[in-house]
């Protein structure tokens, strides 16, 4: 073949390839279904946060079925349009652009977690649409976007509000010194910063303040280093891997800290709870919903969770078997949007945002009101202490008495005792 032909071939091939790539992308435009109201979102269905993402998605499907049974939004049926963001923020802007421009969704809500909400913010702001957030930590602090609302019940200053109740709960130990440890990851670092603020307010001396990398396999050296500082309390902001590793390391090395835990993500998940079993006893941690009798202030939550658990069983889903952690919240952030849209009576994002700002909603997570930056006006993270765990049987965690509520005072079902007294 001559050189000329070769280069000709190349350019033809390149052009053909470009054309193919372009047409492949453009043919994605679906047939418009004018009738349904479409709610679009990205969700972590694979990757590090997939455990939470899948759980949230099932709850959202339950909400969709509920609202459709009740006649839908604005009298139209609701359809969920979602894509897997692979727990990678990089995929998020493209997904939301696709949802808004190609799928022509009527509303967008966020995926699960701070890191995956952040890259969607500018897209929402750019289109000036209402944006509901699911478990985002301070996502709107820089943007101050008036149409963003977030369901994590951590109060107006989420980083601080998240651990506020925990620090109130430990006052009973009259601590003087505190050790702080956090995972080297976005959410956990924010939690620890908030905890430092609370610790300083309370006048505790910080004797240890470190971060651990997410890939850490053995936590015993860290626990020993903390013990060497003899802290009265040990605040941990960790991700699931680390939470499990730390619980075990503490069980093995022991500690004299009176309170251990605080912001340990993952201890609310079925797999870890069952796997860790009795090693959890004594841990004092945050939570959002536990099967204690006083949680009746969340109307319909326990029925919702029961439906979710049945769904997991009957459909053979590979998601969290219990669903306490995210199900009510993933349901609620859609529910609030649905209520607002139906109250406004039309798709008018300005009016809907205004309505959400001025209304106190009642949903499966109780009464919700949004303040500045779309955060909750009050903090309602609850503090639980693990106790009476006998074995690795999962069903015990569905019963009251295992994760007793220590704070807030109005719903408490127990009082915190020192870590070692429950071992």
């Amino acid at each position: 073949m001559t050189r000329f032909l070769k280069s000709r071939m190349r350019s033809v091939m390149l052009v053909a390839l470009f054309a193919a790539a372009f047409s492949l992308i453009t043919t994605l435009s679906p047939v418009a279904q004018a009738k349904n109201i479409k709610i679009g979102f990205s969700m972590a269905l694979t990757g590090a946060l997939a455990g939470g993402g899948k759980q949230a998605l099932e709850a959202m499907k339950i909400w969709r079925d509920d609202i459709n049974a009740k006649g839908g939004m604005l009298g139209r049926q609701v359809e969920l349009k979602y894509y897997d963001d692979q727990t990678n923020p990089k995929n998020v802007p493209g997904i939301y652009a696709k949802l808004l421009d190609v799928d022509k969704v009527d509303f967008i809500v966020s995926g699960y977690g701070t890191n995956l909400i952040a890259p969607a913010m500018p897209v929402a702001i750019d289109r000036d649409v209402v944006f509901m957030g699911l478990f985002g930590m301070n996502n709107n602090k820089k943007w101050k976007y008036e149409k963003y609302f977030q369901i994590l019940p951590a109060g107006p200053d989420p980083a601080v509000g998240f651990s506020e109740n925990w620090f109130k709960a430990i006052e009973t130990f009259k601590p003087k010194t505190i050790a702080l440890l956090s995972a080297d990851a976005g959410f956990a670092r924010n939690l620890k910063e908030g905890a430092i603020t609370n610790a300083k307010r309370a006048g505790y001396e910080i004797v240890y303040n470190q971060n651990y990398p997410p890939k850490t396999a053995d936590f015993t050296p860290i626990v020993r280093a903390v013990n060497a500082k003899k802290p009265d309390i040990f605040y941990i902001a960790s991700y699931p891997n680390g939470s499990a590793g730390l619980v075990r390391a503490i069980a093995e090395v022991g500690t004299d800290a009176k309170a251990v835990g605080g912001g340990m993500v993952g201890l609310q998940f079925s797999g870890l709870m069952a796997g860790l079993g009795p090693n959890l006893n004594g841990i004092l941690n945050y939570d959002f919903y536990v099967p204690e009798p006083t949680m009746a202030l969340y109307p319909g939550a326990s029925e919702l969770i029961e439906r979710y658990q049945n769904k997991v069983k009957t459909e053979g889903l590979k998601t969290d078997a219990l669903g306490y952690y995210l199900v009510p919240w993933a349901y609620a952030y859609l529910d609030i949007l649905g209520q607002a849209v139906n109250a406004v009576g039309k798709i008018d994002h300005d009016a809907i945002a205004e309505y959400i700002h001025k209304t106190e909603f009642t949903s499966v997570v109780g009464k919700v009101a949004f303040g500045d930056n779309g955060e909750w006006t009050t903090s309602r993270t609850i503090v639980v202490q693990y106790q009476n765990i006998k074995n690795n049987d999962l069903s015990q965690f569905a019963q009251p008495g295992v994760r007793k509520i220590m704070y807030p005072a109005d719903i408490k079902t127990g009082s915190p005792v020192t870590f070692n007294s429950l071992r």
Binding site: L45, T46, G47, A48, A50, G51, K54, D184, Q210, N211, Y212, P213, P214, K215, T216, A217, D218, T220, P221, I222, R224, A225, A228, P240, N241, A244, G245, R248, A249, A251, E252, V253, G254, G266, F269, S270, G271, L272, A274, G275, L276, G277, P278, N279, L317, K318, T319, D320, N392
Partner: protein, 298 residues
């Protein structure tokens, strides 16, 4: 006194952690160090074994380490299958290592997806009497607490390494493996089929995944993507130890384990990965073949 106690505890913990690292790396030391197959999917295959261990433990109540032993022949057969495929498409055509790397990346993704479909994405743990307890002893006025689960990892990994080392250096097959690493031609002249030797050696490398998987789920909670966490570690260990040296791999695993543990104790855990990999870079800068590597750099 307190400092000494902390330091000694950190070193002990580091050796135990090193044992765990060694268990993850030893199979790769054969596949990559001796056979030049860049099996980037190795940690992910270990996660697969860990999930199998979980099943055996959860459904049948089998002790995890026993489950690991049961899985060993299964992974041996898997190794035979993977190598046959690899040989067919790459080795036979003497393709560059780069192509093999892409192949194993593909394998990694497929394995992850299969695990997600079979087990979901939630974290899994196993229970056994030796998990969550530790052996505590006082020595010269200092207290040592040794978690049984890490001790188990250490003992099993050491036994595995010593066993493999003895097997590879003493048996005919083992010497054939080393020979195939240096000169495949000479081996065929001796009347041994080099492909067969490589296939069995690769399968042997994968067979270690059975036990390594059991140890993994004993030491850490697992989920399908957790294998990616260890890609850097296992390759660093094999290279640090020197390609082709099984005992070098063990020593390198101890070095990284101790480094991580000591740094975690005294300088803050978040610097641990930088220190571990800086050790690797430093060693490579001065001794390009790793600690126990032979002269040739490929």
């Amino acid at each position: 006194m307190e400092f000494t106690e902390l330091l000694l505890n950190a070193i002990v913990a580091g050796i135990l952690l090193g044992g765990f690292f060694a268990a993850l790396s030893i199979g790769l030391s054969i596949c990559f160090g001796l056979l030049d197959t860049v099996n980037i999917a190795h940690p992910t295959i270990i996660v697969g074994a860990a999930f199998c261990t979980f099943l055996l433990n959860d459904l049948l109540g089998i002790d995890p380490i026993l489950a690991g032993l049961i899985l060993t022949p299964v992974f041996f057969i898997l190794g035979l299958a993977i190598y046959s495929m690899y040989y067919q498409f790459f080795e036979k055509q003497s393709a560059e290592a780069l192509r093999g790397l892409a192949f194993f990346f593909g394998l990694l993704f497929i394995a992850e997806v299969l695990m997600i479909m079979a087990f979901g994405v939630d974290h899994r743990l196993v229970s056994a009497p030796y998990i969550g307890n530790s052996f505590t002893t006082a020595l010269a006025g200092m207290e040592f607490s040794i978690p049984y689960r890490l001790l188990a990892a250490f003992v099993v990994a050491s036994a595995m390494t010593v066993g493999l080392q003895v097997y590879l250096s003493k048996s005919f097959f083992g010497r054939a493996t080393s020979a195939v690493h240096q000169d495949g031609m000479a081996l065929s002249l001796m009347g041994v089929d080099p492909v067969m030797v490589k296939r069995i050696a690769f399968a042997l490398g994968l067979a270690t995944c059975g036990l390594a998987g059991a140890l993994m789920i004993i030491v850490i909670p697992i989920e399908p993507a957790v294998g990616r966490f260890f890609i850097g570690n296992v390759f660093a260990i094999v290279v640090l130890g020197g390609l082709g040296s099984i005992s070098g791999t063990l020593v390198a695993a101890f070095i990284l384990g101790i480094a991580e543990s000591v740094v975690s104790t005294f300088f803050g855990p978040s610097w641990a990965p930088a220190v571990s990999f800086a050790i690797l870079l430093g060693v490579l800068a001065f001794k390009p073949t790793g600690l126990f590597g032979s002269g040739d750099t490929r």
